[in-house]
Amino acid sequence: MRLLNILVIGALILAASFVYKIKFDSTLQAERVAKLRGELRRERSAIAVLRAEWAKLDTPGRIRGLADRHLALQPAKPTQFESLDRLPERPPAVAPAPNGDPIGAMLAPAAPDTTGSVPPARTR
C-alpha cells in the first residue's frame, strides 16, 4: 500500500514536470510566433514604402527629365523602324591578311561560296 502511494506520488511529480516543460516550450514558441508576426508586419510595410518609392522614381516624367539631361537620344521617328525580314544579309567575314596586306585581305575572301554562315576557305 505504501509502495503504491510512493509510486503514484512519483508518477505525479513526473507528469507535472513534463506538463510544465511542454507549457514552457509552447510559451516560447508562441512568443516567437508573435515576434515573427510583428517582423512580418514591419517588413510588409517597409516593402510597401519601397514599392511606393520605386513607383515614384519610375514615373515617366522623372525618367524623361533624366534622359533629357544625361542622354543624347532622340525620340524614334517612324522611318527608323524596320522589320526583321527586311534586314540585309550579314557581310562576309574578313579573313586575316596572309602577308600583312590589308587591302589584299579585303579582296581575298571574295570567293563565290562565301556567305554569312559559311566562313571563307582558308588558303594554305
Binding site: K23, S45, A55, K56, D58, T59, P78, F81
Partner: protein, 581 residues
C-alpha cells in the same frame, strides 16, 4: 435488561436531551445523517476544484493569443485598400503605413502640460483646439493623423499618459496628377470619394471597412486599362497644346476600338490626388465624362454612317450644296463653301453642313433619332467612374433639330460618348461600352451590340482616311501610320448666341485606318488663332497637328509598326471590296 441497554447511549443529562430533541427532532439517528452530509461536502469540493482546474486549463490555452489579437485590431483600424495598377503592372495608387496620434482624454492627468509638450513637438498643431479636445469627456480623440516616424519617436519619449499611436494606412499616388481623373482620390479615412477609388468602395470594400475586416491581405490589386506611358505622352502633348494655343482647356482620349478599353484619358487642367482639395475646383473637372459639348463636325461621321447604312444613300450619291440651306428664318452655310453639287465623299472631306443636313432630312426625323439612340448618344453613359453627365437632348425634336444635329449642333453629349459612337462606326459596326478596367477580346465580344453593317464600317474607314489625304485633316497625315480622321469645330454658345470667335475644336483619329485598333480624340476649348496658323482657330490648324504629334509619339508605345507600302484611300476601298466578296 433495560438498564443494560441504556449504556449504549451515553448518559445524558435531562437538559442535553431536551436540547437534542429541539435541534434534531425526537427520534433521529445521527450516523445516517452524517454520511449524507459527507457526500454533499465531497460533491461541493469536487465541484470547486474542477472549476479551478478548468479555469487553469483555459488560462494555459489562451494566454498566448494576446499578441495576435492586438495586431488584428491594429490592422482593422487601418482601412486598407487594394493597389491600383496600370495595364502593365505599374503602380498608380498604393498604401503605406503611417502612425497617427490619438488621446484618451479621461486618462489625461494634466491637460495644460500635455498641450504644451505636444505643441512643442508638433508646431502646426492648434493649441486651443487640442486643449478643447483633451478637456472633452470622450473616450477617444484624434490629435493628428499621419505623423512622421521621427515625431512619433519624440512624442513617445515625452511619456504623456493617455496619449498613444495607431498605425493607419495612407494612400499615395506616385504619379501625381498624371492619371488623376481616372483614379480619383480618397479622404482622410481612406474612403474613395471620386473616380475608380469610389468604384472600388462600391465593390464591397466599404462593407468590409464597416465590419473592420479590411486588412492588408486578401486584397487583389485593381488592374486598369490605362497605359501609364501613353497617358503621360498624351498629357505632355496636351499641356503643350494648351499653352501654345492659349486654350481654356484641352482634353484627349485614346480608346481601343475592339475592346472598349480606355488606354489613356487626360483632361487638362487636372489635379494632384495627393492633394484632394484641388479636385473641388470646377475648372479642374473631367471634361470628357462630366462635361457635355456640341461636338460639331465630328457628328457628321454619325450622319454619314446612318445614311450609308440605311441603303438609301451610297458613296456615289450626290447632294445639292449650291445654295445655303434655308430653314424658316435660319440659313445654313458651309465653312468651306464649294457652291456645287457634292458627292458623298466630298461632303465629308469639305465638311459640308448643307450636304449633311440634306442627307439627314432625306431619311427623316424619326430615323435620325432612332439611329442616335441606337448609338447611345441620347442616354447617359455609365462607366466605372461615378462622375457622368446626361446629354442635352432637345425636348421637341423637329426637322430643324435634325438639320442642326446632323452637323453637330443642338445636341450636347459627353465626349467619351461620342468616342464610343465613332469607335462603333469603324471597328466593324459593334458598339462596345467603354471601360477603364482591363478587358479581353472575348468579354468585349460578349458585350458588343451590332449597330451598323460591316460594309458601312468599311466605307467609314475609307472616308476617314480620305479626309486625311485630301480633306480638312491633312496635317494629321503622319507618314507610316495610315491615320484616318474627322475634324470638328463647333461655335460655343455665349450669352444665348453662337459666338464666332469662341470655338471648341476637336479631332477624331483612327489608327491605322485600314484595320483600326485605336481611336484618338483631341479636344481644345477656346483655342486662339496664332501667326503661324494665319489667325485661324479651326480644328485643322490646332487639334489636328496636336493629334499628329500624339500619334507619332504613342504609336510605338501602342505596338503599331510603321508601314510605308500602303495604298491610297481609293485603292483601299477596292481591295476591301474584293476581300468581302
Amino acid at each position: 435488561m433495560t438498564a443494560m441497554h441504556a449504556p449504549k447511549k451515553p448518559a445524558e443529562s435531562r437538559w442535553q436531551r431536551v436540547l437534542r430533541s429541539l435541534l434534531y427532532g425526537l427520534d433521529v439517528d445521527r450516523n445516517v445523517k452524517a454520511k449524507a452530509r459527507l457526500g454533499l461536502a465531497i460533491l461541493a469540493f469536487a465541484g470547486i476544484f474542477s472549476v479551478i482546474a478548468i479555469r487553469l486549463v483555459m488560462f494555459a490555452a489562451t494566454s498566448e493569443g494576446h499578441g495576435g489579437r492586438r495586431s488584428i485590431a491594429q490592422d482593422a483600424v487601418a482601412t486598407a485598400r487594394p493597389d491600383i495598377l496600370d495595364r502593365n503592372g505599374e503602380i498608380l495608387a498604393t498604401d503605406i503605413k503611417t502612425p497617427s496620434l490619438f488621446a484618451e482624454p479621461r486618462k489625461i492627468i494634466d491637460v495644460d502640460e500635455a498641450v504644451e509638450l505636444l505643441t512643442a513637438v508638433l508646431p502646426d498643431l492648434d493649441a486651443t483646439e487640442v486643449r478643447d479636445r483633451l478637456s472633452s469627456k470622450r473616450g477617444f480623440v484624434w490629435l493628428k493623423r499621419e505623423i512622421t516616424p521621427g515625431q512619433q519617436q519624440e512624442i513617445h519619449r515625452l511619456g504623456i499618459p493617455g496619449v498613444g499611436f495607431l498605425t493607419e494606412n495612407k494612400r499615395v499616388y506616385p504619379n501625381g496628377s498624371v492619371v488623376s481623373h481616372e483614379i480619383g482620390h480618397v479622404n482622410i479615412d481612406n474612403q474613395g470619394i471620386a473616380g475608380i477609388e469610389k468604384w472600388v468602395d462600391g465593390q464591397g470594400l466599404a462593407a468590409l471597412h464597416m465590419a473592420g475586416l479590411a486588412t492588408d491581405q486578401l486584397q487583389r490589386p485593381v488592374k486598369l486599362a490605362v497605359d501609364l506611358r501613353v497617358q503621360y505622352a498624351l498629357r505632355d502633348e496636351l499641356i503643350a497644346a494648351r499653352d501654345k494655343f492659349k486654350a481654356k482647356a484641352s482634353a484627349g482620349v485614346i480608346a481601343d476600338v475592339n475592346t472598349g478599353e480606355i488606354v489613356a484619358m487626360v483632361s487638362e487642367p487636372d489635379f494632384d490626388p495627393n492633394n484632394p482639395s484641388e479636385a473641388n475646383d470646377p475648372n479642374r473637372l473631367n471634361r470628357l465624362t462630366t462635361g457635355v459639348y456640341e461636338m460639331g463636325s465630328t457628328f457628321k461621321a454619325l450622319t454619314l454612317a446612318m445614311a450609308l447604312d440605311s441603303g438609301r444613300v451610297s458613296l456615289s450619291s450626290s447632294f445639292d450644296a449650291r445654295m445655303p440651306l434655308r430653314y424658316g428664318k435660319f440659313e445654313i452655310h458651309d465653312f468651306h463653301a464649294q457652291k456645287r453639287v457634292l458627292s458623298v465623299p466630298e461632303i465629308f472631306t469639305y465638311s459640308s453642313n448643307i450636304g449633311t443636313a440634306r442627307m439627314a432630312l432625306s431619311l427623316g426625323v424619326e430615323y435620325h433619332k432612332a439611329f442616335l439612340k441606337k448609338l447611345g448618344q441620347l442616354d447617359r453613359l455609365r462607366t466605372e467612374l461615378p462622375e457622368s453627365a446626361e446629354p442635352l437632348v432637345p425636348k421637341h425634336w423637329g426637322e430643324l433639330n435634325t438639320v442642326t444635329i446632323a452637323f453637330g449642333h443642338g445636341l450636347s453629349v459627353a465626349p467619351l460618348q461620342a468616342v464610343m459612337g465613332i469607335a462603333a462606326l469603324v471597328n466593324g459596326g459593334k458598339m462596345i461600352p467603354p471601360t477603364f478596367l482591363k478587358r479581353d477580346q472575348a468579354e468585349a465580344d460578349r458585350l458588343a451590340v451590332r449597330v451598323i453593317k460591316p460594309e458601312t464600317a468599311e466605307k467609314m474607314r475609307y472616308l476617314m482616311r480620305l479626309n486625311v489625304e485630301k480633306g480638312t485633316a491633312t496635317r494629321a497625315n503622319v507618314p507610316g501610320y495610315y491615320v484616318g480622321g474627322k475634324t470638328g469645330t463647333s461655335e460655343k454658345v455665349v450669352g444665348g448666341r453662337y459666338s464666332k470667335t469662341k470655338v471648341l475644336t476637336s479631332f477624331t483619329a483612327i489608327l491605322p485606318a485600314d484595320k483600326p485598333r485605336y481611336l484618338l480624340l483631341i479636344m481644345l476649348d477656346e483655342p486662339e488663332g496664332l501667326p503661324e496658323t494665319h489667325g485661324f482657330s479651326t480644328s485643322g490648324w490646332n487639334a489636328v497637328p496636336v493629334g499628329a504629334q500624339v500619334i507619332e509619339r504613342v504609336a510605338p508605345l501602342l505596338d503599331i509598326a510603321p508601314r510605308f507600302d500602303l495604298p491610297k484611300a481609293d485603292q483601299m476601298l477596292l481591295v476591301s471590296a474584293k476581300d468581302t466578296r
